[in-house]
């Protein structure tokens, strides 16, 4: 029973990590109506920036973390300036395809610049797990979960209550209408990408803390995709619930079903959930009902 509860808690915390990465998707979607397939690559780039500032440049953590976040923001801004500003008002297909192109472009660039080698990642959160009675909770996931919840509440407030947040929401509704209302579509999209890159870097810190870093870690981007979809692409608060549900489902499958069938069903559970959501309720739990049925 203790193990069962422990599995649930760990699953929920991993789910919260997915939520944080998924928050990158949602923030970019919420402020620009672009669905960013390259989110996992942003996580990896964030990871390499953190690795570079700590392990290569030898800065202390207190200095390197803020610096990494600033650098990640700059990368996000550069991507937006180079690729997305020119596509404002273009079709959904163009936007999707450009981020798909970005996905393989960034993957290739990371490989070319950093190579396929495995690198140690700095220990940002204490390695010693937290013991609650017989239960064992990884410290990085626990801290990460707290950061995720704080970020979700903050961003949720920003997008739903403040004036500038609501402006960005208008951009997500329609680029042309937003710009004719005097809202800067370019500014909104740029802000979204900076924020998305920063969130991805925080995600990388939590995910990789004390582990090793290779370009394969970008798979977390695709693991987070079902969470974003389950919550509904416009809802930041909903990510918490969606992440917890998917994380628990995955954890229980990995720990109880996989030994029975002798496979790794756990890794594919999020996609099965995603397919089910797409078929039953494409708007997700809390998304806007804007999907056109045909």
């Amino acid at each position: 029973m203790v193990y069962f509860i422990n599995d649930i808690i760990t699953g929920a915390l991993i789910g919260l990590l997915y939520s944080l990465v998924a928050m990158g998707f949602v923030v970019i979607y919420r402020a620009s109506k672009v669905f960013n397939f390259a989110q996992g690559e942003l996580v990896i780039i964030g990871g390499f920036i953190v690795w570079f500032t700590t392990m290569q440049a030898g800065l202390s953590l207190w200095l390197s973390i803020p610096l990494s976040l600033v650098l990640a923001g700059l990368v996000g801004y550069a991507i937006e300036r180079i690729f997305l500003t020119k596509l404002i008002g273009e079709s959904v297909f163009s936007m999707v395809m450009v981020t798909v192109g970005l996905l393989i472009l960034l993957r290739g660039l990371v490989l070319l610049v950093f190579g396929p080698a495995v690198r140690p990642f700095p220990i940002i959160f204490p390695l010693k797990p937290l013991f609650l009675g017989d239960m064992l909770i990884p410290m990085n996931l626990l801290m990460g979960g707290i950061i995720t919840i704080v970020a979700a509440v903050g961003l949720s407030w920003f997008f739903n209550r403040t004036r500038s947040g609501l402006r960005m929401t208008a951009v997500a509704e329609d680029h042309v209408v937003a710009s004719s209302m005097g809202i800067s579509v370019k500014g909104s999209i740029a802000f979204a990408w900076v924020l998305g890159a920063i969130l991805s870097t925080i995600g990388a810190m939590i995910f990789l803390s004390g582990k090793s870093l290779t370009f394969l870690a970008s798979d977390i981007g695709f693991a987070a995709l079902p969470v974003a979809l389950f919550a509904g692409l416009e809802s930041i608060g909903g990510l918490i619930l969606a992440g917890i549900i998917i994380g628990i489902a995955q954890s229980l499958t990995t720990n109880y079903l996989d030994p029975l069938i002798g496979g790794s069903l756990g890794s594919v559970v999020p996609y099965i959930i995603m397919l089910a959501i797409l078929l039953i309720r494409p708007t997700g739990l809390f998304g806007w009902r804007t999907i056109e049925r045909v």
Partner: protein
């Protein structure tokens, strides 16, 4: 191309694929050159042509699904994988002839594609792209985690060579004629499909699905059909691939390969069969250049090792996709068509 001032006067003449005598000549010359290619060029080029023809079958299928019917498909490599696995399992376990395994591979891929196409009845746009990505991951999962006696697991399957009346299709040249025959049939079929009732329904759904529905087209069935046909092509291409490489493994059919196929039709031009072929030609040439140049660069930057080809391919294709989406979203064929029509109507402005 008809000269200025001559317009088709019947549907039959409007639908004709070959319009002038020069086109007949060009087509015959092109086919003859391809048929004689094994006697004209070296084995290396034949190997490249083999890859091009297989990619052409798959890219043409993607063109029908994405370019004509407008359904974003990021799972074409998974559909290709289903075909490749079907063909190799049938060939290695039951010893069926390739005359049967290739169509059966197409059919099984078509069934798989149709299942995911059914979701297109409910969702569209990039949500659809997400289900095709899910198809990609589910395919990977199924191969790796089903019992390895079924699909070989992570070891892959070795494929026996294709055989017909005691004649074994081994070696690049023999493979070349087999691929040539299948590719010719498939491409000719694609020209037929897109100018038929189905093809016109695809274009109508792509341009405006609400309007298409009002005109009496069953939109959901049309979208599912587009996936069915696109996946059938991918399955046939996958079977050819299995016979060419004689080995299938799950790493040959990843999301990245799907994106490569998408890059081909973006470069060539959406909504044009010839565009798909042009795109395949250009992207495969780029790939060959990277594969040739890459190792030389890798020697000077040694830490990369063998990954440089994959990495370089990703950088170039990612850049090409993004550039084309920004600068020339309709692809090279669009530019060519503009030139053609302005030549045709010269000296009038329109």
């Amino acid at each position: 191309m008809d000269p200025s001032g001559i317009f088709p006067t019947s549907y039959r003449s409007d639908r004709r694929i070959i319009r002038t005598r020069w086109q007949v000549l060009a087509l015959v010359l092109f086919m003859a050159l391809l048929l004689l290619a094994p006697y004209l060029v070296s084995g290396r080029i034949i190997a490249i042509l083999n890859m091009m023809m297989i990619s052409a079958v798959i890219a043409v299928g993607l063109q029908i699904c994405t370019g004509y019917a407008g359904q974003i498909n990021l799972g074409q490599a998974a559909f290709m994988g289903v075909g490749a696995y079907t063909a190799s399992i049938l060939a290695s376990k039951t010893g069926l002839t390739f005359l049967l395994t290739i169509p059966l591979a197409g059919l099984s891929a078509a069934l798989f594609g149709f299942l995911f196409g059914l979701t297109a009845a409910r969702i569209k746009g990039f949500y659809l792209a997400l289900t095709t990505i899910a198809a990609q991951f589910l395919f990977h999962f199924a191969v790796l985690n089903l019992p390895s006696t079924w699909m070989g697991g992570s070891n892959g399957i070795t494929v026996p060579p294709a055989e017909l009346f005691g004649l074994r299709f081994v070696g690049e040249t023999a493979q070349f004629y087999m691929n040539f025959a299948v590719t010719a049939i498939m491409v000719a079929g694609a020209f037929g499909i897109v100018r038929s009732r189905f093809g016109r329904a695809f274009v109508a759904v792509r341009d405006d699905d609400v309007a298409a529905g009002i005109m009496g087209i069953n939109v959901a069935a049309t979208k599912a059909n587009a996936f069915l046909i696109g996946a059938f092509y991918a399955g046939v291409g996958g079977a050819l691939w299995a016979y060419l490489i004689r080995f299938v493994g799950v790493d040959q059919f990843t999301l990245f390969h799907s994106i490569f196929f998408v890059a081909m039709i973006i470069v060539g031009g959406m909504g044009s069969i010839v565009g798909a072929l042009v795109g395949v030609f250009i992207i495969r040439i780029i790939q060959e250049i990277i594969a040739t140049v890459g190792p030389n660069i890798a020697e000077s930057v040694s830490f990369l090792g063998g990954d440089i080809v994959f990495a370089g391919m990703n950088v170039v294709l990612g850049g090409v996709i993004a550039l084309f989406m920004i600068l020339e979203p309709k692809g090279l064929m669009h530019r060519w068509n503009i030139m053609k029509s302005s030549y045709r109507i010269w000296p009038f402005p329109y």
